[in-house]
């Protein structure tokens, strides 16, 4: 039974004060908070079995290796990958994207197209621009409409036999729009293109099934789903991962080294050069366990209640405009008060102990589209409450009064 008061007890940080007020944490789309179940795993790792993995013959190394590989299996099960070696541990979503982009630089040639969406985070634009510069491929963009949704009719027109790659986020970080990735993947496959989905914003809210989606690559970050920072995962279909060259050279990723030639290790180690974030990987597994114990159906149901409640309450404030009004969105509200800069609103909310994000959310093209300098973004997680939303609404009213 979903009980938010009990869940809140798992998160030590939620009981602290900020500027003398109880913390209201609404910056979950930037990073989520960490439950004690995950913190305990981190403490346990460094207290009891900290060792380098995959090489030592001693007991600690064996234990750490077992736990690390166990975490990989948890991630495999969670995302329903066919094989554990299709899960590559990364330092986060950005690392995963760059790994794939780098791999494709040897495959793409002049005349090829890469398609990205207008809803992308900078981290999902820049690597492709760099890749296009290196390979001579052309970057094409799926446009969005006023609701903040991608226009699929335009996407269809961009696809051709030249399309080699399509990159799209599952959910927009700036607006919360859930993109129709099933359709995007199906259409891309019809012209023989591969698809990478950035799941950074989706994974805190839903449970993607990479086999059902038939997606070629899927990336996520642990710190947005109750795990630690500096840790993430790349899922890639086995056939693709075998095709792509290694990203970084170093220890762990080799099978045999002579000065004439190095043969690379098997998957997944081919892409995991050097000593990884061992503790981070294990804690990522614990975070996935934690979220699954609560249940993604319960999480989605509760968060949509929060979204509906907050949308209604905020829209009651005169001159408040919400950006991103798709019917398919997660618990993210991007808004502005007319004539007031989002930075000013954020600065006042901070004084009231309310954490929101202000600015362009690393998605400047979206802000340019709406012709605004940025927005105030409140993003809710399953441990937030309606009472906290009331505090936000009062805070916004106060900011409006002070700033108008």
């Amino acid at each position: 039974m979903f009980n938010v008061e009990n869940i809140r007890k798992d998160f030590p940080i939620l009981s602290r004060k900020v500027n003398g007020k109880p913390l209201v944490y609404f910056d979950n789309a930037a990073t989520s908070q960490t439950p004690k179940q995950v913190i305990d795993v981190i403490v346990d790792y460094y207290s009891n079995y900290n060792a380098n993995i995959h090489r030592g013959v001693h007991a600690l190394s064996q234990e750490a290796t077992d736990k690390y590989e166990e975490a990989r299996k948890k991630i495999q099960t969670h995302f329903n990958a066919k094989f554990a070696h299709e899960i590559i541990f990364t330092s986060g979503t950005t690392h995963g994207i760059n790994l794939v982009a780098n791999g494709f630089s040897t495959i793409l040639k002049k005349g090829d197209d890469i398609i990205v969406s207008a809803l992308e985070h900078h981290s999902n634009i820049v690597p492709w621009q760099m890749l296009c510069e290196r390979s001579g491929a052309t970057l094409k963009v799926i446009p969005m409409n006023l609701e903040g949704e991608l226009v699929m009719g335009e996407y269809d027109k961009l696809l051709s036999k030249n399309t080699k790659l399509v990159f799209v986020n599952h959910i927009s970080n700036a607006l919360g729009t859930i993109n129709p990735i099933e359709y995007i993947i199906e259409k891309a496959h019809e012209v023989g293109a591969a698809v990478l989905v950035d799941g950074a914003q989706a994974c805190p809210h839903l449970k993607p099934d990479v086999q059902a989606l038939d997606v070629d690559f899927y990336v996520a970050s642990a710190h947005k789903m109750c795990g630690p920072t500096g840790e993430g995962m790349l899922y890639g279909k086995e056939s693709w991962l075998n095709k792509l060259p290694p990203y970084q050279g170093g220890g762990e990723m080799i099978a045999e080294v002579t000065f004439e030639k190095t043969t690379y290790a098997e998957l997944p180690h081919k892409f995991e050069a050097g000593t990884p974030n061992i503790c981070g990987g294990i804690a990522f597994g614990a975070a996935i366990d934690y979220m699954n114990a609560i249940g993604f159906d319960e999480i989605a149901k509760y968060e949509s209640e929060l979204l509906e409640y907050a949308t209604k309450k905020l829209l009651d404030i005169e001159d408040l405009k919400i950006y991103g009004t798709s019917k398919h969105k997660t618990s993210v509200i991007s808004f502005n008060l007319e004539g007031i800069h989002p930075y000013d609103v954020g600065a006042i909310l901070d004084k009231l102990g309310i954490a929101v994000r202000t600015g362009h959310h690393c998605a400047q093209p979206i802000m340019d589209y709406f012709k605004i300098p940025g927005t105030v973004r409140a993003s809710f997680a399953f441990y937030n409450t309606k009472t906290e939303i009331d505090t936000l609404v009062e805070g916004v009213k106060k900011a409006k009064m002070m700033l108008a």
């Binding site: 500027n19 007031i340 800069h341 930075y343 000013d344 600065a347 006042i348 004084k351 202000t358 600015g359 300098p373 940025g374 002070m402 700033l403």
Partner: protein, 143 residues
Amino acid sequence: MIVSIEDIQKELIDEFSMFEDWEERYQYMIDLGKDLPLIDDQYKTDSNIIKGCQSKVWVHAEMKDDKLVFTADSDAIITKGIIAILIRVFSNQHPKDIINAETDFIDKIGLKEHLSPTRANGLVSMVKQLKLYAIAYQTQLKS
């Protein structure tokens, strides 16, 4: 006789010490921002924008007699209030005095939080930019 930078800073510290809470302090900054004389539109150019601010900040500097005069603007009102404070302290002063001025008054008037780089409002960049202008004009005066 111009009032020295040090004296203006003392005045500001006195003024801010009367506020009982953040709300009064912020309301005062917002009012200062609203009262800041407008910058001439011709100076609101891209090259006058201070980088590192979440809000846009334009600063223009020019010498009048032997004193450096700043005008500025921002699209965010709290940021504008901060600029108004900086202009009150540093504008209409000799470049040499601007270069040598201490900046610990920012801390003393309770604006320390705006110094943090994560705030990205660029208070640090603003102070640095004003001082850079002063250095540039000081070099010109010498040559």
